[in-house]
Symmetry: C2
């Protein structure tokens, strides 16, 4: 099997880290000056690797192999979460670049725009898969500073370019490597994760409407306290979901707001942002039903409780052939030190899997940390992960 | 008994409402331009009423009677909560002005600075009672914009003025009228409330420390979710306090913050702002013990829970002689249409009661609404309340 160039791989990862460096991590919001710079840096690297490089009309970066025959598409994303890690996304893209250089032919590389959701949800890979109408781009704004996507694309000189659309006949499939972003591999002592499926998620805003009142003069018996209704429902979810859930089902209340949020005022309104994730559609449906029941129960109290669905992503299964190719390569390099596992985080591969066979490989995250500048993976694991992916890619290309 | 001038009383209330008018209410933060303007407006009114008017070094407004003999001190405050009601505070001050004009002698009037707590806790009346050291003024900043109190006093031209100190030998006592800010009077059909005691309050910040993590990749069993710990404790309080509390005991969680507050991140830190109130010291102590028990129970979970006491006010009892004088006056004007009741809200009178006999009268709040621009009281109730207070003041002055 062709051997990767470990120094070249690590050198490129280190170089990319310096664009928008923040402490030991990186801050590259989508279409920030640093993000735009990193896309051009990548295009130059892809060109130097012999590929035809292009930034498209939604800031996806492509490197296309000019040789004949069907290709394997490899990649991930290069923008980051705020003040976050250096490998989240970047690693999978540079693995693609290294695969192209090592194998010489058969590899297309993609850095999908905005996997981190600054402007929306998976805009880059969804655009490639034909799922983003122009109207969605017209209204998208960057979280934090509300810059319109159109203005940001214009400033980057990309406005008016065509958005590259997938030609599935060109591809054998899509292969993405990523840091695990969890502690499963580290806790089990494994060095490679082979993703079986990517979880789907159901996301909600739950709104509680009561009556705002003075916290000193309003008897408990007469209150319609939206905050009390909220903590009761949140507690009920935590009491009832475990009886339904599998070991890997997760649910999270990430945000709570009491309105007006003043120490001496009974909250008249409250909101919680809630989500649950699982790889099985049946489990997601069952949790959704239970949530409906709990909200109906909450509505028998003094406040009005409304469940607003803000987003749903379906689980997606990785292709068996891709899982097998990755496992064969892992077994060769680190026998007994790999596992098949679901991905609890979302990835571009979950969108690509809708139009072509897809596979994902994980490398360990030290301490399971991600979305934080302390995120890291050992150099040994970075090199091993790339070699396993390149071996699997070679095997898949060889049929 | 001397009769008040209803048109003059209502005319002054309407005029004061126009300074900082917001919808049907008023927005006059302490030492905002509007607040300063209203203090000078009041000083002119006090002067016109024959009193010696003064703004002191902490923006208290005083109108002093120049006739011999002991005085009754009457007043309340004139700054407001944000975008709040036109009568909360202002009514008691204008009642004092009207009492001075109606009785001709024996009434001193005060508008206490910052009862609404923009810069601290009861700064104006506590300064008058000798409870505010200079160091407290040095560090006080206005909530919302962090303007230092010293800078705000300087801008108002009050920096360097002496702060008037109470001379208890001058006074028979302190008499304050206020809107009820609750619905007790309206619900019972009564038109006058005679305050028996003002509740004490215990105020807390409760801090939950867990571990921040990815909401997709961190199994439930491994999480230390600070938000889950918070909603569990808040629910436990709501489950356990009712068994201890009296009918009028109240407790409130006014604010909840999850950190970082992102939909897909397990909160690593959370805070709730919590308080309880009662008129009985023994009840306050009992609730404090129960809270300690619940926090200790919460600390057996995966997160660290810390109870930070942010403030305590002791309950204060209104003087029996003042209650009797108010009741006699109420019984004369609206027989059977008044009640003795505790005050669930804090008032300047709770501080003044520490140095002189004090009494309070309530008028009904329409719909029990307060701290909102919709707060209101009927003109008939405004006139009646003033006449009852002036009768009681005359009786107290007559000995």
């Amino acid at each position: 099997m062709p051997e990767i160039n470990a120094d070249r791989l690590l050198g490129d990862l280190y170089a990319l880290r310096r664009i928008g460096e923040y402490k030991t991590g990186v801050h590259r919001p989508s279409l920030s000056p640093e993000d735009v710079r990193s896309r051009h840096w990548l295009a130059e690297k892809l060109t130097a690797a012999g590929l035809t490089a292009e930034l498209d009309g939604i800031a996806n970066v492509f490197g296309r192999d000019r040789s004949p025959g069907r290709k394997l598409l490899m990649g991930s994303h290069i923008e980051t979460q705020p003040h976050a890690g250096w490998l989240d996304g970047a690693m999978g893209v540079i693995y693609g670049l290294e695969a192209a250089r090592t194998l010489g032919a058969g590899i297309d590389v993609a850095a999908w725009f905005d996997e981190e959701g600054w402007f929306g949800s998976f805009l880059g890979c969804r655009s490639f898969c034909g799922q983003v109408p122009d109207a969605e781009i017209d209204t998208a704004k960057r979280r934090g500073d509300d810059v319109p996507l159109r203005a940001a694309l214009d400033q980057a000189g990309l406005q008016g370019r065509t958005r590259v659309q997938a030609d599935p006949s060109r591809y054998l499939g899509y292969l993405e490597a990523h840091i695990e972003q969890g502690a499963e591999l580290e806790l089990s002592g494994d060095r490679i994760g082979i993703v079986t499926a990517i979880v789907g998620s159901h996301r909600f805003r739950i709104v509680f409407e009561g009556v705002q009142n003075h916290a000193g003069t309003t008897r408990m018996a007469r209150r319609k306290d939206a905050g009390v209704a909220l903590v009761r429902l949140a507690t009920a979810i935590n009491d009832r979901f475990p009886a339904i859930a599998h070991e890997r089902t997760v649910w999270t209340t990430g945000q709570i707001t009491l309105d007006p949020g003043s120490p001496s005022i009974v909250p008249g309104r409250a909101e919680m942002v809630f989500q649950f994730r699982d790889t099985e559609p049946a489990m997601l449906a069952r949790l959704g039903e239970e949530l409906d029941v709990l909200v109906a129960e909450a509505n028998r109290g003094p406040c009005r409780v409304t469940l607003v669905r803000t987003g749903t992503t379906a689980p997606s299964t990785m292709a068996a052939s891709f899982q097998d190719a990755l496992e064969a390569a892992a077994a060769r390099h680190v026998p007994g030190k790999y596992q098949r596992m679901p991905s609890g985080a979302g990835h571009d591969a979950q969108i690509l899997a809708g139009i072509m066979p897809s596979g994902m490989l994980f490398v360990p995250s030290i301490g399971g940390i991600s979305h934080h500048y302390a995120e890291n993976t050992s150099d040994d694991d970075l090199v091993l992960g790339c070699q396993v992916v390149v071996d699997a890619a070679a095997a898949l290309l060889a049929g």
